[in-house]
Amino acid sequence: MAAGTTATRGRTRSARGSHGNRIVVVVGPRDASTRRLEAALQGASVQFVYQATPAALLHEGEVAVRAPERPWLYLFNLAAGARPAPRGRTPSGRRTARRTVRGAARVTDVEWLDALRAVNERDPETPILVAADASRQQKLILDALDAGADEVVGPEVLRIPALARRRVRSALANVRGTSADAWAALPTGPDDLDDGAVVEWEDGPTEAEAEAARARVRQAVARLPTREERSGPLAELLGVTVPELRAPSGRLDAKRIAACLGVSLNRFAAAMPVRRQSLDETPDSARIQAALDPFARALAVLDVLLPGDVGRQWLNAIHPGLDGTTPLAAMLDGRAERVARLLEMIRDGSLV
């Protein structure tokens, strides 16, 4: 049972003298569905009172709930125990499937609906929620709505507390309107995001799992890439092939990259760790591959993102994310990695 809610089993054990609680009368057993609703209404000062069967709810045709206060909500748990069952004849003479409620007498659909109708007639200001499985109980759900049910929750809805609360709110609004206190009393819950997402706490690792995790971390630390490795070239890892920027040796070629950028080799040499003359003599030197790596990655992205002249315009336009310089100037003054990453993040839609 969720903290903040109480549940009472049986029709005579509901009162605990705690005024101020909202009473949810559950007709049917306490099972996974109702426990989920209890959890969803945590914090709303809700007390659940269970009536095992419709017969337990109705006494000589009257609704006989022994609760400390007037019910705030009825929940008919039709989903409980529903399974294929032999067909029988009801007291009213209509053939219908019989359903088994765990720990209680067999209940027919007609008995459920008669009870629901009776509750709706005698207590029209209290909303009625029905728990049923839409995949198996379509007709019963429609009949329940006809008989006066205000809302229906299925197993999938009850698994998501925020959705379950929405259905309860909907049932309340159906009867009392959204300005009623009952509506306002329902917690939205700290776990409800405005966009309908559900973010719930779950159990953390056990002590044994935590200890195993610590051992894994100690092992992993020894295998982590070093700082130098993390600073190395990435083009190959990222699948950047750029054959047009490579020499016959297969290595990146400084002359080809400079030409692609539209700058002279003289100017390009300023961004390289070797002299201009060395660059001219061996433009695919192994020594400059790491320095050429971000240029190749940037040009590869640019080729797809902004091909042709548009890409060249982008390189030469001041960019607000680069301290008021152009991407090309930033690349040549040692920030090629930053420009490459900027383009890659635009490409990936990365959220930072």
Partner: protein, 233 residues
């Protein structure tokens, strides 16, 4: 049996984030194992330029669109150290991904300026991810000795400083590294640094569980099947 070594302590005044790298990973991981985790079940969003969803056909035919492509993060992101672990970045709000693409600039939650841009597609992703570290939770931040400034710091500058050997790894990257190393976290929920209202989720795809009792799922919602992709595959 010999007792397991205690995680390194930074001393009363120093922060665990400033410890030598390996010690910092161990110390952060130790704290992570004491924080609560979240289950995220939501429709998340991601924006990708159309030209990347529909790349020019290479020899051999057009490959299928990969709206959940994430390996580009290996060049470093806020919660993805350079060289990994790789992460897939998703937003809780459909407005945030375009903002992150710089197509729209938000101030106080409102779009105030639009720049010209090529078409892009915002895909909705059905997500069920367990074992998520929640950096929007103040108790978690306190346990980890992290403040809001740590989450919005200039990680790119810090990454460059780290690469040059002048500073420790950015805290957000170190955090992701440690969380991933524990194998006890499949993602990190964090506030957007780009907008003042967005929340994002970075998922470690290689930490998603396929067959566990609490299986994880990321699935692009697309009735046409054109952008169909799911993780784990």
């Amino acid at each position: 049996m010999a007792a397991a070594p205690r995680p390194p302590s930074p001393g009363p005044s120093a922060r665990i984030w400033k410890l030598p790298h390996a010690d910092a990973v161990v110390a952060v991981a130790d704290r992570l194992l004491g924080v609560r985790r979240r289950r995220v079940q939501a429709t998340l969003h991601r924006a990708v330029y159309n030209k990347y969803l529909h790349p020019l056909a290479p020899p051999g035919g057009t490959p299928p669109a990969q709206p959940l492509y994430y390996e580009g993060s290996l060049s470093g992101r806020r919660y993805t150290p350079r060289l990994g672990p790789a992460g897939l970045y998703l937003s809780f709000d459909p407005s945030t991904p375009p903002a992150e693409l710089r197509a729209v600039i938000f101030e106080h939650g409102l779009p105030v300026n639009s720049e010209e841009h090529d078409p892009f597609t915002v895909v909705a992703v059905r997500a069920i991810v367990h074992r998520v570290l929640d950096l929007t939770d103040s108790a978690t931040l306190t346990t980890l000795d992290l403040g809001p400034d740590d989450l919005t710091a200039d990680w790119e500058h810090e990454q460059e400083e780290y690469g040059a050997g002048r500073a420790p790894m950015p805290a957000t990257q170190l955090l992701a590294l440690a969380a991933h190393a524990t194998r006890e976290f499949a993602g990190i929920l964090y506030p957007s640094a780009r907008t003042d209202f967005g929340r994002n989720l970075v998922v470690f795809p290689d930490r998603l569980r396929r067959r566990a009792r609490n299986a994880d799922l990321l699935e692009v919602i697309d009735s046409t099947g054109r952008y169909a992709q799911r993780l784990p595959p």
